[in-house]
Amino acid sequence: MSAQDSRLDSVLARGYQHGFVTDIESDTVPPGLDEETIRFISAKKKEPQFLLDWRLRALERWFTMKEPHWGKLQYKPIDYQGISYYSAPKAKADGPKSLSEVDPKLLATYEKLGVPLHERARLAGVAVDAVFDSVSVATTFKDRLAAAGVVFCPFSEAVQTHPELVEQYLGTVVPYGDNFFAALNSAAFTDGSFVYIPPGVRCPMELSTYFRINAAKTGQFERTLIIADKGSHVSYLEGCTAPMRDENQLHAAVVELVALDDAEIKYSTVQNWYPGDENGKGGIYNFVTKRGECRGRNSKISWTQVETGSAITWKYPSCVLRGENSVGEFYSVAVTNNFQQADTGTKMIHLGANTRSTIISKGISAGHAHNTYRGLVSVMPSATGARNFTQCDSLLIGGHCGAHTVPYIETKNPQAIVEHEASTSRIGEDQLFYCLQRGLSEEDAVNMIVSGFCRTVLKELPMEFAVEAQNLLAVSLEGAVG
């Protein structure tokens, strides 16, 4: 009997457990994923038929797929039928009642990151409704965007207000059958963000998930769709440098970006989910599919990410360079400490003529962690004049960690120019001693050496984000030396 059959069997065997026939008003479904669950989620969200059909096709495909294991990652098997796929407008009552109930370690981290006091409670998930005066902030924010014609709202809201845009673009960059985790997300996604920038509009402010307070809890299967129409420009910030309290161990998000003619999307991420404790216990498993398509000519998509969180990271923000003269960029810092594992990188698919891409990847490993860069640069026959430059640097701190670089290069056009540079270095005793001899503490010395190493990536981040990211690197590497 194949694994797939046994999975189907186990689903069938549990057929009676749901029992939500009369319970459509309930907030949580019992664990397990099948057609009923999907119908339930879709009905709960009052989704149009096309979306339900799409989810069901994704589910059907997912049942035929196997979890990928080509990444250099080791983890215990995930029980997909043991997860509850819908627990909406989450009962805040489940959270801690006050800051005194929150893990002191988490609070200590907020302290070090300089998170304002009134923010800490919200991030820690404290069950207080209006911890800070966010409404006015959000309102001004919404007014300014509306004036520019920018749509920025929770995904579920966009399904109601702009179904035609959702139907036109959803799954056009990451099809539901793209990979195991994308299929799972397509079937079961609960919410996420939706952005549409009209032609010729330069978005008047950085769009940040941080401000999207009305959808603070998007859950573990987040779906983001960003469309930059002709000649528009948007900078999107995902995440927050403060660690979010989160009980879901498995996260499988999908992000799709579409840039039309002359449009530009800059997508910055600071990801800082719970990485597990110093012994490798707990921590989030993060399996993300992020892809942008430069669909129009002269369009540009730029990914910048600083990853310090999660126990397991499987993530390859990619660019499909379809439009002539389009540009794809990937700037990444991935930090792993203790027993964290990261297998991350990018794909640059050159389809259009004179397309250009740049990849700068900085991997930092400390403790017993393993950090893998996995990247693909693919130049198709149509991509005459394509160029790529790749630079992958790894920094090791201590003697028990590892760095691995797995670059794939495929060129089917003889005129393409593809350059690859790679380096691995260890924080030298000599560098460290030099700083100590000048009076710096060991911690400050390591932080300084690490931020120097990451400089070319950090300068791509929006200013205030860059400062936070630097603090975050410091916190993530605490105790890495000595």
Binding site: Q431, F433, Y434, L436, Q437, L440, M448, S451, C454, T456
Partner: protein, 253 residues
């Protein structure tokens, strides 16, 4: 009069190799001492042990600095107590701004002495002045620490750091090596500008030529991990003429 630095019967090794075999040295405040000797005599080892570089094991003897047990202090504490080590081969730290490191270093020492920190603006003012003294282009200040510097530029940068940190005891390890004659003059001027009755400077060098510009009060010859001869400035000139062999032979006899 008590010495600023007092070394007694210092023995140290790296792994199984004994590199210091009973050093005795007294350096009073206000003096410049030169430590000379052939390659492999233990000159750099002595500097490194004083700075607290990992890898060296002190097996016996003692070092007192400003009346305290120097060997009991961590490297960064020694630095904050005013001990500066000028490196023979200064390392590159890519991406770390030269000025940034130096300001962090100065403020670490100032915090240690319960002084207020110097802000970025005032610091820039200060460091620009010192850079001018070292005839260094201002562009060096915003470059990565020693990143892509030539050998001579690295050495000037060491002295620049010393001038900013104003240490009480500077141990300069072969600061003159790799310098052309103009640079040597600039570096020597930098060192001389720091001479004062409260400070002491230890010049570790292979050649006489730096001592033509920075006049030492005392000269010590190191051989096989021990000081085999001490004298006044005339000893350096004698070494220049006669080389080290006669001393080594006398020692072996």
């Amino acid at each position: 009069m008590t010495s600023l630095l007092s070394i007694q019967n210092l023995h140290a090794r790296i792994g199984d190799r004994e590199v210091l075999r009973g050093i005795d040295l007294e350096v009073p405040a206000g003096e410049v001492h030169a430590i000379m000797g052939p390659n492999g005599s233990g000159k750099s080892s002595l500097s490194n042990v004083l700075g607290g570089k990992p890898g060296y094991e002190v097996t016996s003897g003692s070092v007192s600095y400003r009346g305290r047990d120097l060997l009991a202090l961590a490297p960064e504490e020694r630095a904050r107590e005013g001990l500066f080590l000028g490196f023979q081969y200064p390392v590159e730290i890519p991406g770390v701004n030269n000025t940034y490191l130096l300001r962090a270093a100065l403020n670490a020492s100032r915090r240690h002495r319960s002084q207020s920190e110097v802000d970025a603006y005032d610091f820039l003012e200060l460091v620009r002045g010192k850079a001018k003294l070292m005839k260094m282009d201002e562009s060096f200040l915003s470059r990565g620490v020693n990143e892509g510097f030539s050998g001579g530029e690295k050495k000037r940068n060491e002295i620049l750091q010393m001038l900013v940190l104003e240490p009480q005891l500077a141990v300069l390890d072969e600061t003159d090596s790799g310098l052309d004659i103009d640079a040597l003059k600039v570096v020597a001027d930098g060192i001389n500008s720091l001479r004062s009755p409260e400070r002491a400077i230890v010049l570790v060098t292979h050649y006489q030529r730096l001592l033509d510009h920075v006049a030492p009060d005392r000269v010590h010859v190191l051989a096989r991990g021990r000081i085999v001869k001490s004298g006044g400035p005339e000893l350096a000139r004698e070494l220049e003429q006669r080389g080290y062999d006669w001393l080594l032979e006398a020692e072996a006899a």
